[in-house]
């Protein structure tokens, strides 16, 4: 039972690399009166790691949350325009956001483990999606997710202790493990390595590499190095606008936009 097939409408053919997975057209996001995202148009390719970069508060998280409709939960937030995944408009009234989110997993910027045990934190997703028929399957899923997130060694002896009693970085990895455990098709990661040490970061980057073979990944990061290391495509946001979107190599060597150049060179502000 592979995680691949949790699609709303199962994707019949396996998406080839570089095919568009997510596409956004003229997306506008408002928080009440505040216009947080303006006219964003972007194609996110399948089996590719796309990095979102940009100064703090420019709308990266906001746009990311649009992709799995997590913005629905903020009362004041309004999304306009069109975002589609596998050519299906996700803001179509017929779309079940739940299914969408099962397909598009998310790691939040602030680690938010459930006030439950470490095991339950990771097992929750697989459980509600019926990914494990037996208890032992579940154990396996949890173990492998924790391993992928590089947390297994630290917590394997205390799977029953509360997830909220972990260190900041551990919580972050726990949330990564939790998202990975349901094997979504698209994984949105909002600064997944912000609280991680270089080694843990390396492990997560390795995980991203690994996941890329089968999944589409969008990652928000403040580290240019990280963006350069893990992503194939990079999108640069500034003040709610998508300034530039390009191949990562190109972006970091020869950006089209002046602002990108400035930002990468650390010449902003």
């Amino acid at each position: 039972m592979s995680g691949m097939t949790t699609a709303i409408t199962p994707t019949p053919k396996v998406a080839a690399m570089n095919e568009t997975k997510v596409s956004a057209r003229d997306v506008q996001v408002y928080y009440g009166d505040k216009h947080a995202i303006r006219d964003v148009n972007i194609e996110i390719r399948s089996r590719t790691v796309t990095a979102f970069i940009g100064p703090s508060g420019c709308g990266k998280s906001t746009f990311l949350r649009c992709i799995n409709r997590m913005n629905d939960t903020i009362a004041s937030c309004r999304v306009e325009g069109n975002i589609s995944i596998d050519s299906e408009n996700i803001y179509d009234p017929k779309v079940d956001p739940v299914q969408l989110r099962a397909k598009v997993g998310m790691v939040f910027q602030k680690p938010n483990p459930f006030p439950k045990s470490i095991f339950e934190n990771v097992a929750y997703g697989p459980r509600i999606h019926g990914l494990a028929a037996k208890k032992s399957d579940l154990d396996d899923i949890v173990a492998s997710a924790l391993q992928k997130a590089g947390l297994w060694n630290e917590v394997k002896d205390r799977l029953d202790s509360p997830g909220t009693g972990l260190s900041g970085g551990q919580q972050q990895r726990l949330c990564i493990a939790r998202a990975v455990a349901v094997s979504p098709e698209v994984i949105l990661m909002d600064e997944p390595c912000s609280a991680l040490d270089p080694i843990a970061t390396a492990k997560v980057e390795e995980l991203i590499h690994e996941l890329r073979e089968n999944f589409t990944i969008v990652i928000v990061t403040h580290s240019m190095q990280q963006a350069a290391r893990v992503s194939q495509r990079t999108a640069m946001f500034h003040l709610g606008n998508l300034v530039e979107e390009n191949d990562t190599d190109k972006m970091f060597t020869n950006p089209d936009d002046q602002r990108t150049q400035d930002y990468i060179m650390g010449r902003f502000g």
Binding site: M1, T5, T6, P10, D96, V98, I128, G130
Partner: protein, 486 residues
Amino acid sequence: MSVGLIFLVVLVLAAAGYFVGRARALSLSAQSGRKLHSLPSYYGQTVALFIAVPAFFVLIAWLFIQPIVIDSRVNGMVPDSVIPDGGARSLVISDVRRIANGLDAVLSRDAIDESALTDGSIDFSSIRGRLADVGVALVGDVPTEVFEAAKAYRQGAKFGNMMMTVAVLLVAIAFGAWSYTWIRPDMRARNISETFIKALLIASSTVAILTTAGIVGSLVFETINFFKMYPASDFFFSTVWNPQFRGGSDLGIWPLLWGTLYISLIALLVAVPIGLMIAIYLAEYASKAVRSVAKPMIEVLAGIPTIVYGLFALITVGPFLRDYFAQPMGLGSSSSSVLTAGLVMGIMIIPFVSSLSDDIINAVPQSLRDGSYGLGATQSETIKKVILPAALPGVVGAILLAASRAIGETMIVVLGAGAAAKLDLNPFEAMTTVTVKIVSQLTGDTEFASPETLVAFALGLTLFVITLGLNVVALYIVRKYREQYE
């Protein structure tokens, strides 16, 4: 089958439906190799819901309609001649019902065959005695028509029951089977069952609306009657409350409203500070052990019957306040006073404030406390400036609940504050509240269709409208000051 049994059978069917539905979903998915849209249990739930809900619906409708149908049929069999003078048909019909139900007992006790009822092989002329033997008391002898009607009723009920059983089970099975065959791996079973649950949630919240409608409905009619007898302007603008037994009463609402506000205010002045401090202490300072003992203990205060508080007010607090405060201060010598009732009522509503607030305070995330401590705030500063504002909506809810309880209380006011309606500022004076007068006017010895009694309805409705206004204001305030954390 009895209703209870049918109910059980449907439940069992639903449970069975759950398992077959689940199994079918699993096997279909295994066969077709397609993944299920939802967890298998949701398919089970869907089938179970399809079995249970329409069936229960039919059951309830049937239970509602069958008596009407049978009654109307039996009604036709009872000629006017057997209805006693001045009596009512409905009473004879209930006699019929009683006989019909008694017959079952007679048959089973005397081991008589069902057929004996119709072929006349046994003498049923002594039916009254036989019924009395099985504990069904009748008034007089049973006229043949009534007995026949009873038999018909029994037949009808039996038949109806049978039909009901059949119908309910049929519906259950039909819908179950249909939903069973409907199962596909891509069926959105979770959404179906969730839509269903959501409908239940909505239905539950309409209960509140219905209750309000019911209250208004049951008050408004008699209120109109009241205003036909007593001028509304006097009711709303007169400052004298002086009902008289033989009419000619003054029924101005102001003294009562004033008493209500005054007493509730004092009660809140007692309960809110104490209750909030208790909540804060238990949530923030007390050890787990103290908290787990003190909280349920204080909750018992809400469960002590109000008469105990009333007597406490009457016997202890009232004379104490009179002897040590009112008389020395020259503020009167009444042992029952607004202050007495307010104080005692305040004690009673402490748990409403303390327990609910305690839960809310406890739910404020630790990271907020950390943030404040980290800045060098003391615990009390943290509580006052960070935690309470964050917990405000819940705390206001708790206070409103306490206030509501204070407004609705009678016994403490009767015993503590007396029954005299007065407009006075002196807290050592006896006064009374709207609620007390609703109860006393409604349960008095005055004739019902007099303004003195009907005023209770007008008081109830007015109070309802006033509290509604207060609640609107409260809602507005809470909305304005609400702080969402995280």
